[in-house]
């Protein structure tokens, strides 16, 4: 039995994890040195949410996926060139600042405003997806706040799996302490799901999907609304790289047995 869903995925863009990050302080608080020229990618956990959303939509005919992303238009365009080849979605860009230092409450309010004004969105079918934490701020609150603003009180974080039931409800697995999942059954949408890794591999690039997506992405980027994020009393006193640099001892001339003996002592030491 088909249960058409309206899945809204909130996903930011983040510096490529392999880049060196250096904090600098500007007139508006901390940021990253050369932030605008660092290669960017879709936030990893939010990307998992997008792939899960596309998979869910494909299994439920009549479903639709929106991707809402807040960031500088130029960077969004760059990242979408790749992301658009991974899954079918309608991009709803919000032109705003990049980075982890803006206040999450302002970001959530901008996202909720945008969701409420999505043409054709049926709140009764809404599954609000995103990463449970970003790779920038990593606060784990933006999606939750957006859901709360939208009045959604069935929320799940650290999600690795959703399984739809024939009655429109679903079972969801959330990460909890001790390497376990908490299993919940929800009556159905609307709900918020902050995704962890999920179970799907990253889809291969599909140029046809990319071309279809790009036909709507470019006009959407041109029409993107700008968002000014308020600080909400948040003030940074410092932002710095960790000072700890270890003095590494590189041991090249020990046999496996000698290394094992050394490690056994180390493991057993108080």
């Amino acid at each position: 039995m088909s249960n058409p869903l309206h899945i809204v995925v909130c996903a930011g863009i983040v510096p490529d994890p392999l880049q060196t990050l250096e904090p600098i302080t500007g007139p508006n608080g901390p940021g990253l040195k050369n932030e605008m020229v660092l290669p960017a990618v879709l936030d990893p956990w939010a990307a998992s949410a997008l792939y899960e959303a596309a998979n869910l939509a494909a299994k439920n005919p009549g479903s639709k996926v929106w991707l809402i992303s807040l960031g500088p238009k130029a960077k969004l365009q760059q990242v979408m060139m790749t992301v658009a080849q991974k899954a079918s979605f309608e991009l709803v860009p919000i032109d705003g600042p990049i980075g982890g230092f803006p206040d999450a409450h302002s970001t959530a309010a901008a996202l909720a405003d945008t969701i409420q004004s999505l043409p054709g969105l049926d709140p009764a079918k809404l599954l609000l997806f995103g990463g449970w934490e970003s790779a920038t701020r990593g606060a784990g609150v933006t999606l939750q706040l957006a859901g709360e603003i939208l009045g959604i009180t069935d929320q799940f974080q650290g999600v690795d799996q959703i399984a739809l039931n024939d009655d429109g409800g679903f079972e969801v697995l959330e990460r909890v302490e001790g390497g376990k999942h908490q299993v919940s059954v929800c009556a159905g949408p609307p709900a918020v799901l902050g995704w962890a890794t999920g179970n799907l591999p990253e889809p291969r690039n599909n140029p046809q999907t990319g071309m279809a997506n790009m036909r709507t992405i470019m006009p959407a980027l041109q029409k993107a609304n700008a968002a000014k994020l308020e600080a909400n009393g948040l003030r940074y006193l410092s932002a710095s790289l960790p000072k700890q640099q270890r003095t590494t001892s590189v041991v090249k001339d020990l046999s496996p047995g000698e290394i094992a003996a050394e490690l056994a002592t180390w493991i057993g030491a108080e």
């Binding site: 990050l21 904090p23 094992a260």
Partner: protein, 349 residues
């Protein structure tokens, strides 16, 4: 003057449906310590809120704090669930009229704290690792997955601070008679039911948050060895034996976990829950041993809170040698772990 509320909850029994245990969770007790310290630092009043099925035992354990004790209790609060936990925490916050709310950053309260802050017209910062400051409250947290450390403050109230586990000593004291104010909560219709906990389908438990030692297995374990062949079965046996002998927790790099979905040789007991680093966990263990892992930045950000670090790698130029580990052994992890297991086995015998 600031008014501080610490939100706590009692531990679940192993079977959620069977009810709840009576004791506060370790993370809750850590938050209590943080609350006591912050109240002393600011000369603030302290209130502690308890969410439980039955709060009596938890309240008794907090009697010596001298704090005002509030509780929301009843069967609906046995399950960690957004709608009930948010309602409980909201009621506690409204009654306490706190300007600063501290809560453990566990999965249960991380799920609801931001929503509660919004309901109260407040703001939240999470993953707090330290609270300092003399006249203002200054909170320390990490950004960009433990790559940049920042100290921040807020002028707006109420201010919710979610504390990372392991950053405070758990509060401990002899139980005593406690006066608790029971707060009533009106719950809406419940649409979500928690049916239980599920461990990964592997035969061995490999994630042990309380372990002293973390073993991280990288993708090298499934690559071709000197004989030109892969040995995933042998690798799996070596790793599982090591875990059995040391009670270590097992972490992994994303690349190794992902191999399972790419039809490459895999270690069958690994899941995404084992993942450490940029897209995984940042666990807290005293010691960490990396094996067959490059030690590049996306991996190492997951090691921020590992105190003593050692690595075994065949590559003398791997990332671990560049100030990220204390000791790097240039050697074949297959051989070293086999010898190490034999030694540990002999010691056990």
């Amino acid at each position: 003057m600031e008014t501080i509320l610490v939100l706590t909850y009692t531990a679940l029994s192993t079977d959620i449906e069977a009810g709840s245990g009576a004791a506060l969770t370790t993370a809750s007790l850590e938050a209590v310590t943080a609350g006591i310290n912050l109240a002393a630092q600011l000369g603030a009043t302290l209130t502690i809120g308890i969410v439980a099925v039955d709060h009596a035992s938890a309240a008794a354990s907090l009697a010596s704090t001298g704090a005002r004790l509030l509780a929301v209790s009843g069967e609906p609060f046995a399950q960690p669930r957004y709608v009930t936990d948010a309602a409980a925490c909201e009621a506690l916050c409204r009654d306490a009229r706190a300007s600063i709310v501290l809560a453990p950053g566990s999965s249960r309260f991380a799920r609801v704290a931001a929503g509660v802050a919004h309901r109260l017209g407040g703001f939240i910062d999470t993953h707090i690792t330290a609270i300092g400051g003399a006249e203002t409250v200054e909170a320390t947290r990490w950004f960009y997955r433990q790559r940049i450390e920042a100290v921040l403050t807020r002028e707006t109230r109420p201010w919710f601070l979610l504390l990372d586990a392991g950053t405070n000593t758990p509060f401990a004291a002899e139980p005593g008679p406690a006066q608790v104010e029971q707060i009533q909560v009106q719950l809406p219709a419940l649409r979500t039911t928690v049916t239980g906990l599920r461990a990964p389908t592997q035969t061995a438990q490999t994630i042990r948050p309380e372990a002293q030692l973390l073993l991280v297995a990288g993708a090298g374990w499934t690559k071709k060895q000197l004989d030109g062949k892969t040995h995933p079965t042998e690798a799996g046996d070596l790793i599982l034996n090591f875990l059995r002998l040391t009670n270590a927790s097992l972490g992994s790099s994303k690349s190794l976990v992902d191999q399972g979905s790419d039809n490459q040789p895999v270690l069958p007991f690994l899941t995404h829950l084992n993942q450490i680093g940029q897209t995984g966990a940042t666990p807290r263990h005293l010691k960490g041993l990396s094996t067959c892992c490059h030690g590049e930045e996306p991996h190492v950000v997951g090691w921020r809170f590992i105190t003593e670090r050692r690595a075994i790698s065949l590559d003398p130029n791997c990332g671990w040698t560049r100030g990220k580990a204390d000791v790097v052994y240039i050697a074949d992890a297959f051989q070293v772990i086999a010898k190490l297991n034999a030694l540990l086995e002999a010691n056990h015998a």
